[in-house]
């Protein structure tokens, strides 16, 4: 913790700060959490979170189960009220507004479709609460059914639908009232892989067409990255990083984020030499690694390198920097890419990934001697910390 505190000053050059968290929110913030805390007994499910969600944005809350992301969503929907702090929607404090008066709709994880109502009845439910005229409701229900491509299924009941159809009914129901903000709780978790990919694009298309702000909660980093404009990574009730998907992936704020969002190899060590925008890190595994960035000599650091950033060489390259000799111990063939577990000569095992660009399969076999090369810019200098 001691070192972590110093870090914001130390590594200014790499840009690894929680800038997005602490930044003053621009005018376009639709949702603003201000120092929001929610406790269950002694446990703070959400601990002093401040966060902005912009208007017309696809925002994702990403984190492992129990990190507080669902609590944050429920606070916004109004099913929970914060113990401290304020929640602003379009500048208005809604912390004490009951859920049925909030211009926010939610798509539930289990869809929560009313089993005693038809598909039409489900979609019309919210509209009826508004006291909308019958003819208008019927028209809107038809529109929504067309939007989610469920024309003709209106008279069915939820139990007569497939999982994917139910998901779309839930989506139609939550969009029927034209909410300013749609909350989606693990929207794709119950779908199988193929359907999931289709639905991902479908969601993005819908959002752009309707201009509704989407706030999605997910534990799946691939889902979050492919869906969202911005992601807030959460852990233990706190937001640990906010940023665009590429920022989170390529410039993680901590070893924990680096590890949670995708695969990563982490090397602990300390700065041996610094200068010219480059530091040399003496890692505990006895390698010296050159990394782009700046930090004072002697500072403890963690270096993160993504598997695909390694170049897998079968011959010793001429450049001596950032070239780790080792032996392939395992290969996991995944079709498009193969994952290689490489036991470095120091005994440390790292993971490398390479695209299977030709149809000849992997050029490397288990037991082969390899060299893992990488550019100083491909590695990320992080404060020392635990992986997730």
């Amino acid at each position: 913790m001691r070192t972590a505190l110093r870090w914001n000053e130390l590594i200014g050059a790499t840009g690894v700060t929680n800038a997005a968290v602490t930044d003053a929110a621009p005018r376009g913030a639709l949702v603003r959490f201000e120092n929001v805390t929610k406790r269950y007994g002694d446990v703070a499910a959400v601990a002093n979170i401040s966060l902005d969600v912009m208007d017309d944005e696809f925002f994702a809350l990403l984190g492992p189960s129990g990190c507080g992301k669902t609590t944050l969503l429920r606070l916004l929907a109004g099913f929970e009220s914060p113990d401290a702090g304020r929640i602003l929607l379009a500048g208005e404090d809604i912390s004490q507004v009951p859920p049925h008066r909030r211009p926010v709709n939610m798509m539930f994880q289990n869809y929560a479709l009313f089993p005693h109502l038809t598909v039409e009845g489900n979609i019309a439910f919210g509209l009826r609460q508004e006291g909308m005229a019958r003819a208008r409701i019927a028209e809107r229900v038809r529109e929504m059914l067309a939007l989610v491509k469920l024309e003709g299924l209106g008279p069915r009941r939820p139990h007569q639908l497939s999982g994917g159809q139910r998901q779309r009914v839930a989506l139609a129901r939550s969009l029927a009232k034209h909410p300013r903000l749609l909350l989606l709780d693990e929207p794709l978790a119950a779908l199988d892989k193929k359907l999931r990919e289709d639905t991902q694009f479908e969601l993005a298309r819908l959002r752009e067409r309707l201009g509704v702000t989407f706030l999605v909660v997910t534990h799946d980093q691939v889902e979050a990255m492919s869906l969202a404009d911005r992601i807030a990574v959460m852990n233990r009730g706190a937001v640990v990083q906010v940023g665009r998907p590429a920022e989170i992936y390529e410039q993680p704020a901590s070893a924990w984020v680096a590890d949670f969002v995708g695969d990563v190899n982490l090397f602990d060590g300390e700065i041996a030499a610094a200068g010219d925008g480059l530091v040399r890190v003496a890692t505990r595994t006895a390698f010296q690694i050159a990394v782009a960035g700046s930090a004072p000599v002697g500072a403890a650091v963690t270096v993160a390198i993504r598997p695909e950033k390694f170049m897998l060489l079968t011959q010793r390259p001429e450049a001596r920097d950032n070239c780790l000799p080792g032996t392939v111990s395992d290969i996991a063939y995944q079709g498009g890419v193969s994952l290689y577990r490489v036991r470095l000569d120091t005994g440390f095992v790292v993971q490398a990934a390479a695209a299977n660009a030709t149809r000849r399969g992997a050029v490397v076999a288990a037991g082969d001697r390899v060299w893992l090369a990488f550019a100083p810019e491909a590695a990320v200098l992080l404060p020392p910390g635990e992986a997730s």
């Binding site: 099913f79 038809t118 439910f125």
Partner: protein, 316 residues
């Protein structure tokens, strides 16, 4: 070509046949039970209701005797008549008793619903760890004999019983009123005895209900009372209907409670039936009363089944 698929088929066929006899037996057992303990007795009662009263053992004629030959049997069949039903239709006492029974059963069921639903709702919404305890409290009275509990009520409702003493002590009444031998006492006894039959099925449906449905309703703009009306109540309907049937049907034919707590001048059909059987020894009329009662009970059951089908099959 055909070798491999064929062995596959051979392997599958005996397995399917092995399962069949067992599943057939499963249908046969309840069917047999119904035939032996419902259908056969029902036909006997139906036959007696078409017979004539005589002072004999058994106290009706004809008595079918297969040993007497086919001609005799034909003669016996011809002597069956609807006299007992005619008697029931002509005497206002019977009609009044039916009417009275239906009235009491309807009122009692309505009261039971009004008391039972809130109790079931409260138990279902209570903290999880309390639910088994509360559930036990509802079932607990069953551990004492039904008859003893009704006798206890007689005691409580006596002129100098616990109930009047309480009313006097609270200053609600000056002179102790008579509770026993009144419709009020019957109603108290009925509601007390049948409450678990109303509470349990409603609790079962409410307990099963997914509470995120109420959150969804709130999210879509329904205040609590409206979510209750539009979601909780419709979803509890199977339980409500089951509870109402479980109360209405036995109350309609109830004998013990009106006999012990009610007055003799307003007899329910169960009491009339008892009198015909045991005091008047008029088995044909008693049997006819029972058949009509069954016919009366049939339509709420049919209504219930239709409602069930509508729930499971959806509209159309």
């Amino acid at each position: 070509m055909s070798d491999i698929p064929q062995t596959g088929q051979d392997r599958r066929r005996p397995r399917r046949e092995r399962r069949l006899p067992g599943s057939r037996l499963l249908v046969v057992i309840p069917a047999l039970w119904l035939i032996v303990f419902f259908l056969v007795p029902f036909f006997i009662v139906g036959k007696i209701s078409l017979s004539q009263t005589v002072i004999a053992q058994p106290p009706y004629l004809p008595v079918f005797d297969l040993a007497a030959g086919f001609e005799q049997l034909k003669q016996d069949l011809a002597s069956l008549s609807l006299d007992a039903y005619g008697l029931i239709a002509s005497d206002a006492l019977y009609l009044f008793s039916y009417f009275k029974s239906v009235q009491v059963a309807l009122i009692a069921t309505a009261i039971l619903l009004c008391i039972g639903f809130p109790i079931a709702y409260a138990i279902a919404r209570a903290p999880r760890r309390w639910q088994p305890v509360l559930f036990m409290l509802v079932v607990l009275p069953f551990w004492t004999s039904f008859l003893i509990r009704i006798y206890a009520w007689m005691n409580i409702l006596q002129r100098d019983g616990l109930f009047n003493q309480m009313l006097l002590a609270l200053g609600i009444v000056d002179t102790p009123p008579a509770w026993l031998a009144s419709d009020t006492a019957v109603m108290i006894g009925l509601v007390y005895s049948y409450l678990p039959f109303m509470v349990l099925p409603i609790y079962a449906t409410l307990e099963r209900m997914d509470e995120t449905l109420l959150e969804a309703a709130a999210d879509l703009g329904a205040p609590r009372w409206k979510a209750f009306w539009l979601v909780t109540l419709p979803l509890a309907r199977p339980g409500i209907v089951a509870g109402m049937l479980l109360c209405f049907i036995p109350i309609l034919g109830e004998f013990v409670i009106p006999d012990l707590l009610g007055s003799s001048e307003t007899a329910m059909i169960g009491q009339v039936l008892w009198t015909e059987f045991f005091s008047n020894k008029d088995w044909p009329v008693a049997s006819a009363l029972a058949v009509v009662l069954l016919a009366l009970l049939l339509w709420p059951i049919l209504l219930y089944q239709r409602a069930q089908i509508r729930v499971t099959e959806g509209p159309r």
